[in-house]
Symmetry: C2
Subunit: 334 residues, 2 copies
């Protein structure tokens, strides 16, 4: 049953039926009632695409993410979805799998009105920001969360990454570590660099020598990651503390320590950014910097809907920073 058939059944013009369904003032109440009754009788439903065309609204937002098999992003989606559901919006999910080419194709796909707004967390490989600037140039509402693009003028929701980097490093120093490794997956991502700056500044403050060999740049290839972490931990002058700026690098460090028979926390202490439900059940339980992932998703969605709704006088923060917490467990015990 489409609009044309409904109009025919009612012996009215398509335009009159359409106006009646939109409660237009041009149509009499009697006609409106007749149209609604017939629409109900014939189980007529508004075609969302016709409706989107008329209103120039898709009632859809897109979430562009590097990956989904990571609790941080899963919880952020839960937060985003809770707000979208309240607003009656649909949520499209796109995964880049850390591939910047894929990120570019996805953003191109989203330039033509399919969505009313976009939330993004960058791929670790993204260097060139042209595709993001294009979204801005086309005035598509855009909000970054967690992995933000500092140089693009759009609202950004993150945790206190620099402070968290300090917190994690000072925690290891307090626990007696003086040779601390920093593991990250990117030299491009703003959040990685902020965490690293926190690490470096803490070492400087405590007059601990900064060593290039302790700063490992890992990748998407976990076999390679394992081998470079193994190489570092096999050296005579191996670190006695590991700060993993990404969850999976903490888990790979556990595996490597198991294989090399290095005891955590006796031989080496570990802290990692993580939202793992099982952090407390690991062997040993993992000390974490835990991000408020659900609230990051909610906050980013709230800001996006402000951009979409464009109500006058609304204050839209350019930066919104939520605090992470340090949860001390056995992997950094003294």
């Amino acid at each position: 049953m489409n609009l044309k058939e409904l109009a025919k059944e009612l012996n009215l013009s398509i335009s009159a039926v359409s106006k009646a369904l939109r409660d237009s003032h041009e149509i009499s109440s009697a006609t409106k009632l007749a149209v609604l009754a017939k629409a109900k009788e014939l189980n007529y439903q508004v075609n969302p695409f016709a409706s989107s065309l008329r209103k120039q609204k898709s009632k859809t937002i897109a979430v562009v993410l590097p990956e989904i098999d990571n609790l941080f992003f899963a919880l952020a989606i839960n937060g985003i979805e809770s707000i979208a559901q309240e607003k009656g919006y649909h949520v499209l999910i796109y995964l880049t799998h850390e591939d910047s080419q894929k990120e570019i194709s996805i953003t191109q796909l989203l330039q033509n009105g399919r969505v009313d707004g976009i939330m993004m967390s960058l791929s670790s490989q993204t260097l060139d920001l042209k595709h993001l600037q294009e979204l801005k140039d086309k005035e598509i509402p855009l909000v970054f969360f967690d992995r933000v693009a500092d140089k693009i003028d759009a609202p950004k929701v993150t945790t206190d990454d620099y402070q968290s980097g300090i917190k994690a490093t000072e925690h290891l120093i307090e626990k007696g570590c003086d040779k601390i490794a920093f593991l990250s997956i990117s030299n491009n991502l703003s959040i990685s660099n902020k965490r690293k700056n926190g690490y470096i500044d803490s070492l400087l403050k405590h007059q601990i020598k900064i060593k290039e060999e302790y700063m490992l740049l890992c990748s998407q290839d976990d076999v390679k990651n394992k081998s470079i972490i193994t190489k570092m931990l096999k050296k005579k002058n191996r670190p006695n503390g590991i700060f993993a700026s990404v969850e999976k690098l903490a888990l790979i460090s556990y595996e490597v320590c198991n294989e090399l028979n290095l005891k955590i926390p006796e031989d080496i202490k570990v802290i990692g950014f993580s939202n793992l439900y099982t952090a407390g059940l690991l062997n040993p339980s993992l000390t974490t910097i835990t991000q408020p992932a659900y609230n990051i998703g909610k906050e980013a969605a709230n800001i996006l809907f402000k951009l979409i709704e464009k109500r006058g006088n609304q204050i839209i923060p350019e930066q919104s920073v939520l605090n992470s917490i340090l949860v001390e467990r056995n992997s950094s015990r003294n």
Copy 2:
């Protein structure tokens, strides 16, 4: 820039431009080239909603899930997305959070042509299947995966749940358990019942008495779950083996054992359905029945696209069953 403006620029009718853009045989090659050149020059992009209206295709599929902060579903989405991306489709994600009312509203929202097809994994609370039958009645392509509705005539992709139930139970029996608890979150879900039937049949085969008190029906409320598992494990006649048919119930069992000072595997052995990356790093490492989550997502998406494309003579399996594997680790060690 819309179609009307583009037509005006070209001094052609809207219909001619539209046909040219669709490469219609009614339009000359010269005109087509002129239209394409102008479209490119003016950065004209096809409006996806106008395009969907014309083609009666939304190029979008919906995935309706109970939750996303669970690796099984996250990996299934990865599989679905890999196929959708190949096909040039967009993926909408809807979460029911195990609420059957929410599941009903979502399916109603999806009846009006917003999507070309739906993939579903049921909420554990869904009893009445009317909303699913409605999708079938409206001839909306529909595929169930993992948590399927046996009574709805639509393709279903699952693992070998009954066989896995047998495998898990016999594994515990082999390891010396004679008092085995079965933990599930639903009496409605077909997969829960199949796993339970495997459990019961194994006990019967090995002449182990079946006890109601060892079959715990848990819920969405993890505080309650913890308290009923604690109650069972505090009893004098507590089980010496736990078969958790759902990942989170294995993790809660670990917590309870820690609190009650019960040693796994010495005092009690544990096996659980799980796709956790960290299963091998838990204390002790967890023996799992691991489902091929990524391939389940891929297979379900492949079947859905066959239903959508409706090419003649394609064979569409009514049931597609992929095997789970048992990964033995320390939680069931003898």
